[in-house]
């Protein structure tokens, strides 16, 4: 009996090849997309979940009540970790995590930019980065390091790595380090990324800061005793703050801030490891919104649903044309469950083919997908039992719905009627129409979201930032160079070039450079009984000229004034914070024994991404730490050749460098990577859903036309024109699409409004977006419909009448 079913199933599929193809293709594409998206979501949602002690590991952060609101911070002072461990027996392990400088590594003639992280020996005890070779409890001595397998391969090739000595640069100084352990490569879903682990004592500034509570430069992670909860620990931490951060609390009180509900000016709390990837507070976490992985799951569910609807609708429509077969089978004694089994079997064959093709497609697309959307995902999760169970269950459900349901409906009809091939189809049309409306609601939703996300992205990219971004090249200075000297050399080299307008430097890049770093430096001091907080940026001469910033008051830095090293230029927001009538001339007590003088005020410009409002900013010429970026403004006429010329000049200064210069407009765009990624997801989601929906529409129309051939023939005989027939066939479907848009619009408006709240600067959603999206959807649907309806309308009516 089973063989008979499969045989007839196969013949049926073959006989209706075009339908089968539409279903298989649609489902395969949907499966492939759903697989890729859910693997991505899985990757995001399982970040840092591979640590054995994950339930007991936390990151420390503090909450300060500030004059301008509550502030969260995860950077900690050097004595914090050891003191905490001494005071609380419930802290099993604690480690500092220092990242930043000390990136360069030298071995023989190789010099590489590897990420070296400074940690305490507890690090490898609390986190599951297993040691695969060498010392099982590494980092015993200050000059011991642990490296990853990949790093060992890069540095030493096939040689034995354990026992080798290499040099690492810490704060400008090369130190010899001994490799004593190799740890397994880090999983891609780890927030902690490193090539080399070294003792925290090597971290730059360790000595000078070892007993200072006011200087913060690293993060702290700790593991609690298994029976101690996060809440109970957090309750005990304020006492610690009282004891060790009395000075800070005094300052906050002096600034006149209000304590929080429990009476604390500052307190420490814990971020559970599972939240690390999603929090903005931690510097190690990515601040990824949980919204994104769930959005991916949602979109993949959309796509799968739409493909399934096609499947159900087509099977349903086709089972009506197969009514006669069902009727005959019933006359021959087939029971209802036998018919349902038969149809389910057919659905199973189709879906299995689709699944196979889909998995193949997903594997084939994986490299492209990684390149465009999400590097580092792997398909390994597909083999996990949970995923397989989910897949099998989903699969059976889909096939039962798509195959069993239509059979269930049709087999319930009166046998005599079905044998004659006549069926009352009214009820099923309601279901079919509902499903199609849902399909188009989802597609329209994604089309509208795509439009709005794209508009916002364009807005972010094109909003005038208050400085020139198209003509400025930003060059990161290699840490191996002495920065002042490098700037000087560049100035001399480029001085004669007619393409170069001006040169300057700063300690912080503008936007996000090709080196991927985003830095912020914030300074706080008392000024006339107020606490002033400002972004602090070290700059070089010609900064204003190079960026094209407008002075609204005072003067620019100038080489002609010997005292400019204590001069400051501030932005308008900062001037407002100072609260002076004219800020120029204000003396700011930034350092204990030194007053800085404000010499100029510049018009506000967006030195940070448009997610944030313009904050107070102070520019200083006093290079208390090294500048890290050179900015060259070039003539707008020859941007490409200017880049070449600047590259050449820099290579002469530092031939070994990995040159990562870029134009600033690239850098500012890079700040919106997340948004770009999201809009790409929306676009692909929209394209896929509309494509699959239209495939379904196409097939349904084909069936409807077959059913209405006679009607169309009669109408033509009676004088209906081709457009009349096309309109007749299309009308019902276009109405469904229109209804879908009406339903989708408020939904999309709500969702995108929520999303836009992320931005300090944002577009307002315009009504015409919905109209435009609606027109697009209707247009696409109409084109799809026309293929079939025009063909039907052009058919010779004599022929179509003869078919009955």
């Amino acid at each position: 009996m089973l063989r008979n079913y499969f045989k007839i199933a196969w013949r049926n599929l073959w006989k209706h090849r075009s339908f089968s193809l539409i279903i298989v293709c649609g489902m395969a594409v949907a499966f492939a997309a759903a697989i890729l998206l859910s693997v991505t979501a899985h990757q995001e949602l399982t970040y840092d979940q591979f640590h054995e002690n994950k339930d007991h590991i936390y990151q420390l952060y503090d909450i300060d009540q500030r004059p301008n609101g509550i502030e969260y911070g995860a950077t900690m002072p050097v004595p914090m970790a050891p003191t905490l461990k001494n005071e609380y027996g419930d802290i099993v392990y604690i480690t500092r995590w220092g990242s930043g400088e000390g990136e360069y590594v030298r071995y023989k003639d190789k010099e590489l930019d590897l990420s070296t992280r400074a940690v305490d020996p507890d690090f490898l005890r609390m986190f599951s980065f297993p040691v695969v070779a060498g010392d099982k409890s590494p980092l015993k001595e200050l000059n011991h390091i642990a490296i990853t397998e990949n790093c060992a391969k890069t540095l030493f090739g096939n040689e034995e790595a354990i026992g080798k000595t290499l040099e690492i640069q810490f704060g400008g100084e090369w130190r010899s380090m001994l490799v004593t352990a190799i740890v397994k490569n880090i999983p891609t879903n780890s927030s902690f990324k490193f090539d080399i682990l070294t003792r925290f004592e090597n971290f730059p500034g360790y000595k000078t800061n070892s007993d200072r509570w006011d200087n913060r430069n690293h993060e702290v992670f700790l593991q609690l005793n298994e029976n101690v909860s996060k809440a109970s620990m957090e309750k005990r931490l304020p006492a610690f703050s009282q004891k060790y951060m009395a000075g800070k609390i005094e300052d906050l009180k002096k600034a006149g801030v209000q304590p929080d509900a429990e009476g604390y000016y500052t307190r420490m709390k814990l971020i559970p490891l599972e939240d690390l990837h999603f929090t903005n507070i931690s510097n190690t976490g990515a601040g990824v919104s949980r919204f994104y992985p769930y959005l991916l799951v949602l979109i993949s569910a959309f796509i799968l649903f739409i493909a399934c609807v096609n499947f159900v609708n087509l099977s349903l429509a086709r089972s009506f044309t197969r009514a006669k077969e069902i009727g005959i089978r019933k006359v021959m004694g087939a029971l209802r469950w036998q018919l349902i089994t038969q149809f389910w079997g057919e659905a199973l064959i189709v879906s299995s083919m689709a699944l196979l093709v889909g998995v193949g497609l997903a594997y084939w697309l994986l490299p492209y997908y990684q390149a465009i959307f999400y590097p580092g995902i792997s398909m390994r999760v597909l083999g996990s039992p949970l995923f397989l169970a989910y897949l099998v269950l989903g699969f059976l459900f889909i096939t039962l719905l798509a195959g069993g349901y239509p059979a269930w409906v049709v087999s319930a009809f009166n046998t005599v009627q079905t044998v004659k091939g006549k069926l009352a189809t009214g009820k099923s049309n309601a279901l079919r129409n509902t499903l199609m409306v849902v399909q188009f609601v989802l597609s329209s939703l994604l089309i509208i979201c795509t439009f709005i996300a794209w508009q916002q992205l364009q807005y972010l990219r094109n909003k005038p930032l208050g400085f020139n971004k198209e003509e400025i090249i930003s060059i990161p200075i290699s840490p191996t160079l002495e920065s002042e000297k490098a700037i000087q050399l560049m100035r001399t080299k480029l001085a004669q070039q007619p393409q170069v307008i001006s040169i300057t430097a700063a300690d912080i890049n503008m936007g996000k450079g090709r080196d991927g770093s985003l830095q912020t430096s914030i300074m706080g001091f008392d000024y006339k009984d107020k606490i002033i907080r400002t972004h602090w940026q070290l700059v070089d001469y010609d900064y204003l000229k190079t960026f094209g910033l407008q002075l609204v008051e005072g003067r620019d830095f100038s080489r002609e004034y010997g005292t400019d090293s204590l001069a400051l230029i501030i932005n308008e927001t900062m001037a407002k914070q100072l609260g002076e009538g004219s800020a120029v001339g204000a003396l700011l007590p930034v350092e204990e024994d030194k007053n800085y003088t404000v010499i100029g005020v510049v018009k506000d410009f967006h030195f940070k991404s448009l997610h944030q409002e313009v904050a107070p900013l102070t520019l200083s010429l006093n290079h208390v730490w090294p500048l890290q970026y050179i900015f060259v403004r070039v003539q707008p006429t020859a941007l490409a050749s200017a880049m070449e010329m600047v590259t050449k000049a820099y290579k002469e200064i530092d031939p070994r460098s990995m040159f990562e210069a870029s134009y600033l407009d690239e850098n500012t765009d890079r700040q919106y990577e997340r948004e770009t990624k999201l809009s790409k997801i929306f676009v692909s989601g929209a394209v896929l859903t509309i494509l699959i929906s239209c495939m379904g529409l196409f097939a349904i129309v084909l069936l409807v036309i077959v059913q209405r051939t006679r009607e169309i023939g009669i109408r033509k005989v009676l004088g209906a024109s081709v457009p009349h027939i096309v309109a007749l066939v299309s009308k019902d479907f276009i109405r469904l699409v229109a209804l879908a848009i009406i339903i989708a619009s408020p939904l999309a408006w709500y969702i995108m409004n929520q999303w836009l709240k992320d931005f300090a600067y944002r577009i307002t959603i315009e009504w015409w977006v919905f109209v435009l999206a609606g027109l697009v959807a209707i247009f696409i649907a109409f084109i799809t419909l026309s293929f079939q309806s025009v063909k039907a309308a052009l058919k010779n009516p004599v022929k179509s009448l003869r078919t009955e």
Partner: protein, 225 residues
């Protein structure tokens, strides 16, 4: 074999009530060959559907082999049907996707006959109907007469006690029609009871008894000599 008393069937739509069978009574004995005749809409097809357990009556009694079946549910009817009744239709009603062999095999599949036995019985009956050479062809590749022979083969493969034929020659030319009528006569001579609806006086002459219907009632019975 069949004993019907005061059988009623009424088709209702929102506005119209159509009485298809109006207190019809009828008896068919085992081994009989009965032809039912009458103008369009007189209720012959309805009668045949009820006799074939494809449809249920709205009133009256229907004894099949001395069992009251008028109130059987779908499942019971299907069970009784597949073991006892074979159908021959005017439009053959073969499944296009199945070969001749597979079409004939179908009733055996649904009655749960084992594969080897099925093969034997299908070949036997195809042989008898002289269409063995067409066993692997699809219905569309056959002439009308051949298709109807396949349909008859399918109707008898399960060795039913009763064959119901609904205008079996309606779509055939006269020589093919005669051939099919000869087949039915042969089957009847071997003991199968046959009830046949027809418009053709010629075909009706093959039967033992003609029942003439009008407006859902039997109006006349001719016993053939």
């Amino acid at each position: 074999m069949i004993k019907i008393k005061d059988l009623e069937k009424i088709y209702r739509t929102e506005e119209v009530e159509t009485v298809a069978l109006n207190k019809l009574s009828l008896e068919v004995k085992e081994g009989e060959f009965v032809a039912v005749m009458g103008p369009s809409g007189c209720g012959k097809s309805t009668l045949l559907n009820i006799l074939g357990l494809l449809d249920d009556p709205d009133g009256g009694s229907f004894m099949f082999n001395n069992i009251e079946v008028a109130h059987f549910n779908e499942r019971k009817r299907a069970d009784l049907r597949k073991h006892n009744i074979g159908f021959v239709f005017q439009s053959f009603n073969l499944i296009d996707e199945l070969t001749v062999f597979e079409n004939v095999e179908l009733p055996l599949i649904y009655t749960g006959v084992k594969s080897a036995e099925r093969k034997k019985r299908v070949e036997e009956v195809l042989d008898k109907m002289q269409i063995m050479h067409r066993r692997n062809h699809y219905p569309q590749q056959l002439s009308g007469g051949q298709q109807q022979r396949v349909a008859v083969a399918r109707a008898v493969v399960n060795r039913p006690k009763l064959i119901l034929a609904d205008e079996p020659t309606g779509n055939l030319d006269s020589s093919n029609g005669n051939e099919v009528m000869q087949l039915l006569t042969d089957l009847n001579e071997q003991g199968t009871t046959i009830v046949m609806v027809t418009h053709s006086e010629h075909d009706a002459r093959y039967s033992h008894r003609i029942i003439r219907m009008l407006d859902g009632q039997t109006v006349l019975e001719n016993i053939m000599v």
